[in-house]
Symmetry: C2
Subunit: 187 residues, 2 copies
Amino acid sequence: MSESTPPIGMKLRHARKVKGMRLRDLAAEVECSESFLSKLENDKVQPSLQLLHRIVAVLETSISNLFSDTDDSVVSRAGTRQLLHTSNIRRGEGVTLETLISPSQGHLLFGAIHIVRAGGGSSGPISHEGEEVGYVLEGELELNVDGTEYHLYPGDSFFFQSRLPHGYRNPTDKDTRVLWVNTPSTF
Amino acid sequence: MSESTPPIGMKLRHARKVKGMRLRDLAAEVECSESFLSKLENDKVQPSLQLLHRIVAVLETSISNLFSDTDDSVVSRAGTRQLLHTSNIRRGEGVTLETLISPSQGHLLFGAIHIVRAGGGSSGPISHEGEEVGYVLEGELELNVDGTEYHLYPGDSFFFQSRLPHGYRNPTDKDTRVLWVNTPSTF
DNA sequence: TTTGCTTAGTCAAGTGACTTGACCAATGGG
DNA sequence: CCCATTGGTCAAGTCACTTGACTAAGCAAA
């Protein structure tokens, strides 16, 4: 009888998809076989810690992240959501994420409220495949997509392809809150 | 030199994905070849109107919908968005959609603000593949997912798999506004 | 009619990403 | 030492979609 660890396959798959990699690409970087990764993502195999370490390094996650159980309930209440600060996730200065959907969970969607403090904004754009939607809940946002600046007010929304270079700033001296949803799917 | 009609391939693909069908399934229902549909969705052929008619019938769209050009700009401003009323899109009584992302456009995401009037709610669940996120902007919502009732207040959010039976109602006597994003991708 | 050009639509082979099954080699108890 | 596990590989298989070669209908000029 084998003692089983919690399934991490879907989380790994998600992390890979976010980076827009194919199994083959990851296999090349990690130096293992594509098929092994396939089995791993389908929870048919336990990797060695060394291999797992190489994998999370490439995928820019951590082993702890893989094993942390994230909240999977349907509803999350205002004020009870997990906060991710700037230093955790590289999103530039003065931004806190309040996660609506916990990341690295094999989901098609990622959603969070971005709380952008006065003068804060995103750092360089992460260019992955997919799409982005957002809605300004409160405050103002200066959004730059593919070279064009948009100044957004509460109730305004945006939508664009993730592959376009994009970034944002809060030019005011009050916090801005933006509901942001995106998908890493490669279609 | 051939006169070309606007590209409808991506819209058709989107409509198909929303229904969770493969090319093969659609081909079977429409009674044409899978490969022809492939070419069609990649804008390599012009279908005859008869065939197109059969296709949109199965996909529950209309030819006019395929050819209507929808707004594709990045930002949409509060109060300027297209409204879809209950009678257009079968969503039960007393619900108006304010589209953030115009549908049937080959997108990975669909987003809208659901304005649910007092006592209004969704009709029977449309069971497609994908995921759903939402955030209550204003008012209260009674959300039912897979048999469980959740009572939501402003700032609360939810997330679940589209395949789970789901529906909602506004039990109060004031309008409720919910920002709702979902994806039809089959992964 | 005949010749020639397009093009809706088919059939079957090809492709890309992932999965599976057979196998190998190191480890570790009895 | 033997045998069973199990991390990991290689090659074949699968699935959804795409492509290329082809057919047949329409139409125009001669």
